[in-house]
């Protein structure tokens, strides 16, 4: 289990994380979301023991992570820009990791072959997606108890994304691995994450089960006989969009309740539209004052 209490981190005078609190239970796939510069990568580097905190605590299985060899052995971190150099190939990259982890080289080669990667070519000649696939293969071979993935889907083609998601789900199912994934590909995150945390202004401002959270919002599309503006309604919408006589709104009310509320405005039709994780994210960040024109 990962428990983060009152975590703060600053770079010079710029505070990136401020009294951040969160718990992530074992075997969860946690989607870490936030706008650019929210501190997602910093948080992952703190959890993986690369950065040291200014204050607070990061406990993994009850122990502090920084400079803790035993705890760090349970973690594998894949940063947004994976390591490469001109003399490192996927084949010899694993030599370093073999010094620290129980490692089955054949299994690793198998994963590399699955991704159709040239195993003896210098990684400096690889695309970002290919480098990422090499490290995903490493992670799958190491089978860490905690897998931290920064910008997980960045550079991966749709087929590689699909393979990657399947592999993550398999890893979690087999090994009870706890996965934290930061990504801007929210649709991909929604596919595999069972819980999420929204990082904003250095804090986790919204967290929980993705499905439950999505179910707490309702999106309706309505058509009216004539154009109608937001201020004409005596209803507080969470989100309001209007194109001519068509209005799309997001509210917390169920369909029956909402139909009663809008009855007096005589809508021609009311349809409920599904909300996805991306909609949820946009709603959350809009509620925090972003994206307001």
């Amino acid at each position: 289990m990962i428990e983060i209490k009152n975590l703060s981190k600053s770079f010079d005078n710029y505070q990136v994380l401020k009294d951040l609190n969160i718990s992530i239970e074992e075997g969860r796939i946690f989607g870490l979301v936030g706008i650019n510069g929210a501190g997602k990568s910093t948080l992952l580097r703190l959890i993986s023991g690369i950065y040291n905190k200014d204050s607070g605590s990061i406990l993994i299985d009850g122990e502090e992570v920084f400079e803790n060899e035993i705890v760090k052995k349970k973690i594998f971190f894949l940063p947004d820009e994976p390591f490469y150099s001109s003399h490192v190939t996927p084949y010899n990259l694993c030599d370093l990791y073999q010094a620290f982890y129980d490692f089955d080289k054949e299994e690793y080669i198998g994963y590399l072959n699955d991704y159709k990667l040239p195993i003896k070519k210098p990684m400096s000649k690889f695309s970002k997606g290919m480098k990422r696939q090499v490290f995903i293969s490493l992670a799958l071979t190491i089978k860490p108890k905690y897998l931290l993935l920064d910008e997980a889907f960045d550079g991966l083609d749709p087929l590689a994304r699909l393979k990657f998601k399947k592999a993550i789900l398999k890893l979690v199912e087999k090994n009870k691995t706890t996965v934290i994934i930061s990504s801007h590909s929210l649709r991909e995150l929604e596919d595999i994450s069972d819980c999420y945390g929204l990082l904003d202004k250095g804090m986790i401002t919204s967290t929980g089960n993705i499905d439950n959270r999505i179910e707490s919002y309702h999106k309706y599309q309505m058509a009216f006989e004539k154009e109608i503006k937001e201020e004409d309604f005596e209803i507080a919408f969470i989100k309001y969009e209007q194109i001519g006589r068509i209005v799309k709104v997001v509210v917390k009310e169920e369909l029956n309740e909402f139909s009663e509320l809008v009855k007096k405005y005589n809508p021609l039709i009311i349809d409920e539209i599904s909300i996805d994780f991306e909609d949820l994210f946009i709603l959350e960040v809009e509620n925090r004052g972003y994206l307001n024109d």
Binding site: F11, T42, R45, S48, G49, I50, Y51, N52, E67, E69, I70, V71, K72, K73, I75, F76, F77, P79, E81, P82, F83, Y84, S85, D95, L96, Q98, A99, F100, Y101
Partner: protein
């Protein structure tokens, strides 16, 4: 840590073999036509004996210095790139162990080529007519290795106080040549030659130790100079090792690729150069003083990658100039 050490030994074997081959070829090229006997020449008034005997040993020392700089950068530049910092610091190993492993590997990478090329050099001398007492080659060899390790330790400390490779290299050069260049001429009236404090000059003492043999060395050279020089550099080395591990514990991984604002980088070297240049090396002309002050300012520009100086820089800049003139005044009075 042992597993990591083994990993690096395997990984660096090829590098070490290639370095050794290159160095041995260089030694061979340098020594193949060299003569190791004295020749009589006719001078203006009397004949004189020219003995070019120090040359091969001097070359070895030059190689030692070059290898030390190369492998300091090679082993420790990982901390100056974000991608390698992410990789290395996320591994389940304490930083002190990681740095110690890198430090040990660096020593191997320097000593093995140096030893092999030393053997080649001695073999080439043996096969020719020479004037050397080669019994002293053994203590000379160990002397070179010992002081190479001292220099390496010093450079590792200086290099790792910087946050990017360029700053690391600049500060290595600034430090290495500070005691050698700046202190040349800075001999107080009590006759102490401060150049003996330089790790580079230290090599020179070791070199002469070989050339003349121990008994003759004592007669020809002030042995106290070697003792002072050795003790100073060894103590400095120990302090640096201690500080090195203290700083590692406090190190901020996020500082990688940023400007080097640490105490032991530019913030120490620029004021040192400024103060000592003003104190000793300038003549009484104002243009020379202005040139030194401008050079000092350029140092801060290089440090900040900006023409704008911070408040801290201004204090150091002004303070070091002021201190330089005060020191100059004191030196003139003594």
């Amino acid at each position: 840590m042992i597993k990591l050490l083994k990993h690096y030994i395997n990984k660096r074997t090829i590098t070490t073999i290639i370095t050794s081959i290159i160095l041995m070829i260089m030694v061979y090229i340098n020594e193949v036509d060299a003569e190791y006997i004295g020749k009589m020449y006719q001078g203006d008034n009397m004949p004189y004996l020219d003995t070019p005997i120090n040359l091969p040993f001097g070359n070895i020392i030059a190689y030692a210095i070059i290898l030390t700089i190369i492998f300091t950068v090679f082993e420790f530049s990982f901390r100056m790139k974000k991608v390698t910092v992410d990789q290395m610091y996320s591994l389940p190993i304490k930083r002190s162990k990681l740095y110690l492993t890198k430090y040990i590997i660096g020593i191997f990478e320097i000593i093995i080529p140096l030893t092999l090329s030393y053997i080649v050099m001695v073999l080439m001398i043996v096969t020719k007519e020479h004037m050397f007492n080669l019994v002293y080659a053994i203590p000379h060899y160990f002397g070179v290795i010992f002081f190479t390790i001292i220099l390496y330790t010093t450079l590792v400390f200086i290099f790792t106080r910087c946050n990017n490779t360029v700053d690391g290299l600049i500060n290595i050069l600034l430090y290495t040549f500070f005691t050698t260049i700046i202190m040349v001429g800075l001999e107080l009236k009590n006759g102490i030659n401060y150049t003996i404090l330089s790790p580079i000059i230290l090599f020179n003492n070791v070199m002469e130790f070989k050339t003349y043999g121990f008994t003759e060395f004592i007669n020809q050279k002030d042995i106290t100079e070697l003792i002072i020089s050795s003790i100073y550099n060894i103590v400095l080395c120990i302090i640096m090792v201690i500080l090195f591990f203290v700083f590692i514990k406090k190190e901020k991984a996020e500082a990688s690729e940023t400007k080097s604002n640490g105490v032991f980088a530019y913030n120490l070297m620029i004021p040192l150069y400024t103060t000592f240049l003003i104190a000793k090396l300038i003549d009484n002309s104002i243009p020379t003083a202005i040139i030194i002050i401008i050079a000092s300012y350029i140092g801060y520009v290089i440090k900040n990658r900006s023409f704008k100086l911070t408040k801290k820089d201004l204090i150091l800049f002004g303070g070091s100039i002021f201190l330089g003139f005060i020191l100059r005044l004191i030196l003139n009075i003594i």
